[in-house]
Subunit: 434 residues, 2 copies
């Protein structure tokens, strides 16, 4: 082991600045925990002159992140630029090629290029670490990779996107419409100006692809994840969910289906209010692991934010300094099974359905006839008061089904969507179980 | 690294048998996760002939656990005998002296002798690992030692004893008396025939002493922990707690007090029902870590049981096989600060008080006069109906105080307990906050 570890940070947003602040202000703490001094020797960011809460004394500023790796004395690069391609990819690749350990919080990069990058790191005996890439401060990657390594995982379920969870829990508790809460979340900085990455489920899917690979031993593939976001969830849906003793949360779920394939889904789900994930409010994240012999274990914490993400980055730094290096996916990249393609969730589940229909006699008869043809058993039908929305002629029908395989239900829904009396794409949500 | 790792297990109760079962039935899984074959070569137990769900083919049975270490080919001993002294201590000491790694689930041993054993392991470059010793399947030791290593911890709070949590949550939800639920817990196997180790808080104190050392960098000392168990908690207390919007849970808590000392306490606490730990029901464990920069992170899971405990033991085995060895307390034993002695909790808290008094005029005047002398501000006083218990002359008085330092309150309580009209030791519980 060298007598000290020289680090460079690429990207000084809130997370990068917090990491730099911790490393420079608590130097003695990190020397003790890491077993050697950790020296921040260089940083890269857009603006050299911005005040970021730490002293730049003795730290080189590089305009170009790739210059960090060109320095011969850098042992580890912390990549906090983001994005699956471009500078972040170039930096991480060249760092590994130049013999630098890499710590990253970049879920898009790891979901898209994690296999090749992990292989490159392993070939060179270097660390590629990314605890901060999933669920922020909650150490889900280490739990999965190390603490649960003796288990056969059967299921991972999580609230992986704090923005969506904030929006849905405010809709639930404050009785407000999606658009209204989204606008507030944007004002508070919980949602981006273009929120599609979060609310369309892409961010959660990146994280789920990483967890799925580590948990089930397949090469990561974002296109294996079936993705549904939360744009279509209305206050009417939330109210009806609550009426059924449930709330709605965006979940990432991966489990082995009855064909032995691993089915990974990001989707809004009705969760019974006494389910542990239903109680997670605001921008928190939570992940529940189920397996044998452990049973189940759940971790809850801040999924984003400077402090939480910095905590995860710093844990990776200390692990590497202490020589606790392991393959990114728990097993060597060369041993991962190839990506299998998207698997169907063929578990029978209860479902919640909302149809927007013309308020005309006979609509319900047409709908239920199609459901009967597909052998789908209806549990309840609810037509809220016609005048509720104040618009005559456009009313919701809320239905719940008994246990049905999703593929059957979607076939029926395609036919129902074609009815001239059905005004919009049906909203179909599974009703979660423990 | 050797080409395979030879393991011996001492103690084949439910946990030991499950570990042996996993290692022998899922050999290929463990070879992959550990990077080398894990061979179970010897076991020790009281009864050689009991059927335990795994094949003894190729496994030596030793009557005397110390014979496991006498074998020259054993690389690691898993100690599942229990107890802080005697055979468990002798086995672990001699294993470390003979160059064997040690994995143990023995919280009493680690709380009492962890410092010396860790020093011995570190001097020899061996692992002493004990994830299973605290909170069963929840990887709290790894979280604290590795995942939160970049943080300054300020507080650890946990439900660390499943037996107590089971009893209290059944009292809460089923409206039953302590003795009744304890008897049921004993029948179900959740509580021992002699339950004192659990219900008097000693088991939780062992676990808290370990967490406290890792989190705050002091040598472990069980006598630093102030311990109050749950024997004195009645259904009346639980009902009154619920009336105040709280439940009662046995918590282990450690935090830095305002004198800079680390105060560790095991005690029943009133927790607001919306507190995350108040929602933990049944025999589960949960631990919440608070620090900077992370904020807070909580893990919930099975705190006992064969599968959960085996999961933690197996994670330690894989870590050691992979060379991920670190000092048991996170920092070398030689660097821990000496045990400081028991520190007072000098945080001002609201308190719940139950007095059993003779139902006589003037009692309340005597009590409140003493409280006034100690400058303790009463928030509420409640005298439930005189006939409630059917025993004329013996009634409870329930009080809550505004924020008061415990030492002040206990001084007042000592005087109140001396009043001739006060029939039993006052029950004083702090009212928890987030």
């Amino acid at each position: 082991m060298s007598k000290s570890l020289n680090i460079a940070i690429a990207g000084l947003g809130t997370v990068g600045a917090e990491v730099a602040r911790q490393l420079t202000l608590n130097k003695e703490h990190f020397t003790r925990k890491a077993g050697q001094p950790i020296n921040l020797v260089a940083v890269s960011a857009r603006d050299a002159n911005k005040e970021r809460g730490f002293s730049m004394d003795g730290i080189e500023f590089c305009q170009n992140p790739l210059d960090l790796v060109a320095r011969q004395d850098v042992d580890m690069v912390i990549e906090l630029i983001g994005g699956s391609e471009g500078v972040a990819y170039d930096l991480v690749s060249s760092a590994l090629n130049q013999g630098c350990h890499v710590v990253t919080a970049n879920k898009a990069l790891l979901a898209h290029h994690g296999l090749a990058l992990a292989a490159s790191a392993e070939d060179s005996g270097l660390a590629l670490a990314g605890e901060a890439s999933v669920a922020g401060g909650i150490p889900v990657i280490k739990m999965l990779k190390e603490s649960l390594a003796g288990n056969h995982l059967t299921r991972i379920t999580g609230i992986l996107n704090g923005t969506c969870n904030y929006i849905l829990s405010v809709m639930q508790h404050e009785n407000r419409e999606f658009e209204d809460v989204l606008a507030e979340a944007q004002a508070l900085g919980y949602a981006e100006a273009d929120p599609s990455f979060d609310i369309d489920g892409v961010d959660a899917a990146h994280k789920l692809a990483i967890l799925s690979s580590i948990g089930f031993g397949y090469a990561p593939a974002i296109d294996e994840v079936s993705i549904t976001g939360i744009r279509q969830i209305t206050l009417t849906d939330m109210k009806n969910a609550l009426h059924l003793g449930c709330t709605i949360r965006l979940l990432g779920e991966v489990e082995r289906n009855s064909d032995g394939q691993v089915a990974a889904m990001v989707r809004p789900v009705l969760l019974p209010l006494d389910n542990s994930l239903a109680k997670i409010d605001g921008p928190l994240n939570a992940v529940a692991f189920t397996g044998e012999p452990i049973g189940a274990v759940t971790a809850i914490g801040p999924g984003a934010g400077a402090g939480a993400t910095a905590s995860a980055v710093l844990a990776d730094v200390i692990d590497i300094a202490q020589g606790r290096i392991s393959p990114f996916f728990g097993e060597p990249a060369s041993m991962l099974k190839p990506a299998q393609g998207q698997a169907q969730n063929n578990r029978a589940e209860r479902h919640f359905i909302r149809l927007q229909v013309y308020d005309r006699p006979g609509v319900l008869a047409d709908v239920t006839a199609i459901l009967r043809q597909h052998d789908i058993s209806v549990e309840s039908i609810n037509q809220p008061s016609r005048s509720e929305d104040g618009i005559h002629g456009d009313v919701p029908i809320i239905m719940t089904t008994h246990e049905t395989v999703a593929s059957e239900l979607f076939a029926a829904m395609a036919e129902i969507a074609d009815l001239s009396t059905v005004l919009a794409e049906p909203v179909v949500l599974s009703i979660g179980h423990d």
